[in-house]
């Protein structure tokens, strides 16, 4: 199992480049959007120009005040302002459309990809964080792109256009203004680093809060049963308080950065007035120009202040972006050959399926002790095989290899039979594999829908009557009849309106209607009462005639009934044969069986 790819130390720009490569839709719309953004900055410099024109040419024109000129200038500028409104509106709509389209694409791409990754079923505890990859991480990115990103681009454009306008008016004063702002531009780097640190702490504290809340929610029954409300509340308070303090500290830094722009602007104003007057004395500067400069200086302040606001958003967004991209760039351990390499992808033969393991070894991590070691065996088609062994002996690993939830570290698994040929499992197209080979896991998750909907998940198109009939065939008619609305009963979130055993009944029915040729039951009825289990498995035996069944169970009743028993111990298949033969032979099976007999026959075992 591969861990997720991680690029923690990657720079922001590298992340953006990586991301843009993955979102062609986004890149395509970008140039036109930037062009509109440039137009948008025009609206901001037009007012200072109007001020200069009105003062210099309107009021102090050579022929005395010229009100016509004032009117014309003001009207022209007003038109520009209105055009800017249209341009910005167009830009915003474009931006929203392209970013949301691109991000919806990213979201679904990531969603699909997460389903291909083994972390999803191997490490259940990381599911919550994987959900954030397709929800909050993308949301944050969208906020940033539409708010921060635009603001950043417009601010930069504004700096550029303002500088150009200023140089046209007076290069000397432009120099004066730039000199005032240079120290700030240099300091911004320092500010950015500082802000990154304080907001990094804020993000960590948010994580603490989430962890504490999730304990209180997920552990609700434990918290109540053990009367540890106070303790849990104290933990929550600590986390919430830590988050609060980090936020306040971050705010202090942001405020300091924010006002530095304000202070520099005041200094620049003073410099403009003093230098402007001195220049004006030489006749190099008109009053209007000087005033226009004072207006233009305000355009320099905004970008710095914007940066202080946007930076946190940007860092959050980029961190989230990086996480999404890391998910997308994690190669699935198991890939559908129909997608990975269509030319070699194959279908399973349309005959009953046998299973062959060729010197299969599996390690959960490189260098780890093998969970299965050098398993070499063949199971004939249509056999009913029970796999037994102690917890941790490798039974479930066996099941996951047969169903290709994972690939062996060494050796290979094949399905088929001698007549129709054996197909290496890693060549079988998933469409064929998942249709013919179905596993029922111990925790058969149910969707928040009706019992019938959940069963239909195994085979879309079945009617409620079909589903009822399936339950009848499985000997579960009585159970269905006892439900409030029969198969139309809603099972609640995660099926929690049903008991653990009832959920397993639905999961077995779901696999049954899928009608696979190879059925793998991994402790699929562990929480079902023995009588129901017996009825169910008898029905399955009857109905599965003609298909191959691999059953993993710690209740050895299954093994007693199977045609063949495989005994797994410490990753190796140590015994194989019919129950009747094994139970009399020396070996682990006889021991397992005796122990199970005692516990199910009601004799407490002597304490070890």
């Amino acid at each position: 199992m591969t861990a997720l790819v991680e690029h923690r130390s990657e720079g922001a720009f590298a992340t953006l480049r990586r991301g843009l490569r993955m979102m062609p839709e986004f890149r395509r719309g970008l140039p036109a959007t930037f062009a509109l953004a440039l137009v948008a900055t025009a609206g901001r410099v037009v007012v200072p120009i109007a001020v200069q024109q009105v003062i210099d040419r309107g009021l102090a024109g050579p022929g005395g005040p010229d009100l016509d000129l004032v009117r014309n200038v003001v009207l022209a500028c007003a038109v520009v302002v209105l055009l800017t409104v249209v341009a910005v509106y167009r830009m915003n709509v474009r931006l929203f459309r392209t970013t949301e389209t691109a991000l919806a694409g990213l979201r679904t791409q990531a969603f699909r990809h997460v389903h291909d990754l083994s972390v999803l079923h191997q490490q259940g505890q990381r599911r919550g964080s994987l959900v954030s990859r397709v929800t909050s991480d993308v949301d944050q990115l969208s906020t940033f792109m539409q708010w921060g990103g635009v603001l950043g681009v417009v601010s930069l454009g504004q700096l550029l256009v303002a500088t150009v306008v200023m140089s046209v008016y007076s290069w000397q004063l432009t120099l004066v203004v730039l000199v005032c702002f240079v120290p700030l531009a240099i300091a911004v780097r320092f500010f950015a680093a500082r802000l990154a640190v304080v907001y990094g702490i804020v993000r960590e504290r948010v994580g603490d809060v989430l962890a504490a809340v999730s304990e209180a929610v997920v552990g609700a029954s434990t918290v109540r049963a053990y009367g540890i409300r106070e303790r849990t509340a104290a933990r929550l308070d600590r986390a919430i308080d830590g988050h609060y303090r980090a936020q306040v500290r971050a705010q202090r830094t942001t405020a300091a950065v924010f006002v530095s722009g304000e202070f520099v602007a005041a200094v620049a104003n003073v410099a403009v007035v003093v230098a402007g007057v001195l220049l004006g004395l030489d006749g190099d500067l008109t009053p209007g120009t000087l005033v226009a400069f004072l207006f233009l200086v305000t355009l320099f302040v905004a970008p710095v202040q914007t940066a202080s606001e946007v930076l946190n958003e940007a860092q959050n967004a980029i961190a989230g972006f990086r996480r999404v991209l890391d998910v997308l760039e994690t190669e699935p351990d198991v890939r559908d050959p129909a997608v990975a390499d269509p030319t070699t992808a194959r279908e399973l033969p349309h005959t009953p399926l046998g299973v062959r393991f060729e010197h299969v070894t599996f390690r959960y991590a490189p260098g780890a002790p093998p969970a299965l070691e050098d398993v070499d065996l063949e199971i004939a088609p249509r056999r009913r095989v029970a796999i037994v062994g102690e917890t941790g002996s490798g039974k479930t690993t066996f099941a996951k290899l047969v169903t290709r939830l994972m690939d062996p570290s060494e050796g290979r698994v094949l399905l088929g039979d001698d007549a129709a040929g054996w197909v290496p499992l890693d060549r079988v197209a998933f469409a064929s594999l998942r249709q013919r080979v179905v596993m029922v896991p111990q925790d058969g998750f149910l969707f928040d829908a009706t019992v019938a909907d959940n069963v239909r998940y195994g085979r879309p198109g079945l009617t409620d009557a079909d589903v009822s009939a399936a339950f009848e065939e499985l000997g579960l008619g009585d159970w269905v009849a006892g439900l409030a609305d029969g198969v139309a009963t809603r099972v609640g979130q995660r099926g929690e309106s049903l008991s653990a055993g009832e959920r397993q009944l639905v999961a077995v029915a779901r696999a049954y209607v899928a009608d696979p040729d190879l059925l793998v039951l991994d402790e699929a009825t562990s929480a079902v009462d023995p009588a129901t289990e017996r009825r169910l498995t008898h029905a399955l035996d009857r109905l599965t005639d003609g298909r191959t069944t691999l059953t993993i169970a710690h209740r050895l009743s299954t093994a007693e009934r199977a045609e063949e028993v495989l005994v797994v111990d410490a990753g190796r298949v140590v015994q194989r044969g019919a129950h009747a033969d094994l139970v009399d032979a020396e070996g682990p099976y006889a021991r397992l069986h005796a122990s199970w007999r005692r516990s199910s026959a009601g004799e407490p075992q002597p304490a070890a």
Partner: protein
């Protein structure tokens, strides 16, 4: 329509009021700072106007100036700027503290409710939803607070500006009187248009998240049935609806933003046009014209702050509306004042006509359950799948209360006992184990003051001491989020140790030993029974070995107690019971 608009605006204003009432001190400070900022902003425009009028224009006109005049001008500009900066600092810090305090306070209230509300409430609410209520919804509810004092300061600033305009020139004042109401009008129309769109987007966000949660939880089923494409289509459908919803939001915001920016610019231009006429008429001077034009330019930002607050109010309301049901939820488990009997060994249990039904379910899960458990005895609850055993187990330790009927501990109704009394007497190990992200010790003691040797003894009883000894830091090893670093069986045994270490007078095991060796199970039950004060044990089980340890068996079927008695008695008298517990024995006969 007008009534609905009123509703949105009025609700928004009430929400703003709520923020101010909750944090009056911080708001007052932030508001004062904002007012200082606002006044200084107006002042800076006038200083600039005066400097232009008295220093710049004369100098450029006459070609002479004095160092004194320039110095004075510089000092005035800088002085006003410093005061303005103080205003900004105060505004941001106090407003920040105000918003963060509100967030923290509401997080405390929401999570307090999570801990207070009964388990039945939790069962009705998806985990994902509760997480986002405490986190993003609370944040959304108070996000607008950061620019709130700024916006209030802006309103003051507008007031000062209008006064200044009127004082300077009535005609210029007209510009202000046209532009400022327009600002408010645009804002009102905006909130009106935005509110339903925003609510829909929030709703879709929640739905996308729920699909992702469910689908990822179902990963194994999805994969083994090859339904990845179906799931992706399901997710894509909702993600695309969300996209359309967000684009709809964007279209409104996309127009609002440039309009809010254009209004002050158009105001400035109007000032230039009218002002120039007035200057020519001699009614005002160029300095005043510059002041007012500059003032309009400076006002652009504070006016936007008003927009930020108003723009965020719909989102804030949507967030708050999601938080309110949690805060208003009742059904807090009320506690009585009585103390349980202590120190006399196992607790006695009694159930009297207990009914329980899940909300929305047509049939009750339990009905008319009545039986007693003698102090110090061990009772096995046995029944077919779905007969209500887990619900019954939860009732015994008051995870839920019966709809009707009573559960008695030592003859006292559980509801009459003081808070904490039930958990002090009883320990419960549920079917699914939950471990905290804490050390092994912390998970066993749950913060109680328990000496290490007792922790080790409990771990030994649960046959998990060897495992813990092999962990890198022994008792101090952190088990990771939800016990991720341990195997299922190890987690279950640590949960058993957690119960054992408390030496409970009543131990309820809900099929909690399924992954535990029968020998270990027997040892745990023996340890509890052989103690100085033997515990009463109620165990939900299928295994005959477990059942055989019980003094009495309660046979539960369809939510009703259909039989009670010794194992042998029930075997002889109840066919369903015999079929269930001897299912395996029969298998052998059949085989």
């Amino acid at each position: 329509m007008p009534r609905r608009r009123d509703a949105v605006v009025r609700r928004g204003m009430r929400h703003v009021g709520r923020a101010i009432v909750e944090q009056p001190g911080m708001f007052a400070l932030a508001f004062l700072a904002s007012t200082l900022y606002g006044a200084m902003t107006v002042a800076s425009a006038y200083v600039l106007g005066e400097v232009v009028d008295r220093v710049v224009l004369p100098a450029l006109r006459d070609g002479v100036t004095s160092a004194g005049a320039l110095t004075l001008a510089a000092a005035a500009i800088l002085g006003v700027a410093v005061l303005k900066i103080l205003g900004i600092l105060g505004r941001r810090l106090f407003a920040g503290v105000m918003g963060y305090r509100l967030q923290a306070e509401y997080r405390r209230r929401v999570t307090g409710q999570y801990l207070r509300l009964p388990l039945s409430w939790h069962q009705r609410h998806p985990t994902g939803q509760l997480l986002s209520n405490a986190n993003s919804d609370v944040e959304a509810a108070w996000f607008f607070v950061a620019p709130l004092p700024f916006a209030c300061g802006a309103v003051v600033m507008i007031g000062i500006t209008v006064a200044a305009l009127v004082a300077t020139d009535p005609w210029l004042a007209v510009v202000g009187l046209v532009v400022f109401p327009l600002v408010f009008l645009v804002n009102a129309v905006y909130s009106q248009a935005m509110s339903p769109r925003m609510r829909r987007a929030q709703q879709l966000r929640a739905e996308v998240s729920e699909i992702a949660h469910e689908s990822f939880d179902a990963a194994l089923v999805v994969k083994t049935l090859g339904r990845e494409d179906v799931e992706t289509r399901r997710f894509t459908g909702r993600a695309e609806e969300l996209r359309d919803g967000l684009v709809a939001v964007g279209r409104v915001r996309g127009l609002f933003d440039p309009l809010m920016e254009a209004l002050p610019a158009l105001g400035t231009l109007a000032v230039l046009l009218i002002g120039a006429t007035r200057v020519v008429d001699g009614a005002t001077d160029a300095g005043d014209l510059v002041s007012i034009a500059y003032l309009f330019t400076l006002l652009a930002l504070p006016i936007r702050a008003i927009g930020w607050v108003l723009a965020d109010l719909p989102r804030a309301l949507a967030g708050f509306d999601r938080v309110t049901p949690v805060l208003d939820a009742t059904g807090e488990t009320p506690h009585g004042t009585e103390a349980a009997v202590t120190g006399t060994g196992g607790a006695g249990l009694g159930l009297r006509g207990v009914d329980y039904g899940f909300e929305g379910a047509a049939r009750p899960t339990l009905s008319g359950v009545t039986f007693d458990v003698a102090p110090g005895s061990t009772v096995a609850v046995v029944g077919p799948t779905g007969s209500g055993k887990s619900t019954l187990a939860g009732l015994l330790v008051r995870l839920v209360d019966p709809a009707t009927g009573d559960v008695l501990l030592d003859g006292v109704d559980l509801r009459a006992l003081r808070e904490g009394e039930v958990s002090a007497q009883a320990a419960f190990v549920p079917q699914g184990t939950f471990l905290f992200d804490d050390t092994v010790r912390g998970n066993v003691t749950l913060g109680g003051d328990v000496p290490d040797d007792e922790v080790w003894a409990a771990l030994a009883t649960a046959a998990v001491d060897d495992v813990v000894r092999r962990l890198p830091e022994g008792l101090d090893t952190r088990v990771g989020e939800r016990g991720a670093t341990l195997s299922g069986g190890q987690r279950q045994r640590i949960a058993l140790a957690r119960a054992v270490v408390r030496r409970p007078r009543l131990l309820v095991l809900d099929d909690a030993t399924s992954a535990v060796d029968p020998a270990v199970e027997a040892r745990i039950l023996d340890a509890l029974r052989d103690a100085e004060r033997p515990s009463t044990v109620v165990v939900v089980a299928y295994r005959q070995a477990t059942i055989a340890l019980a003094d009495e068996v309660v046979w539960l079927e369809g939510g009703q107690v259909l039989a009670r008695g010794s194992h042998e008695q029930l075997l002889a008298e109840v066919p369903g019971y015999a079929a269930l517990v001897r299912a395996y024995a029969q298998t052998e006969v059949a085989a």
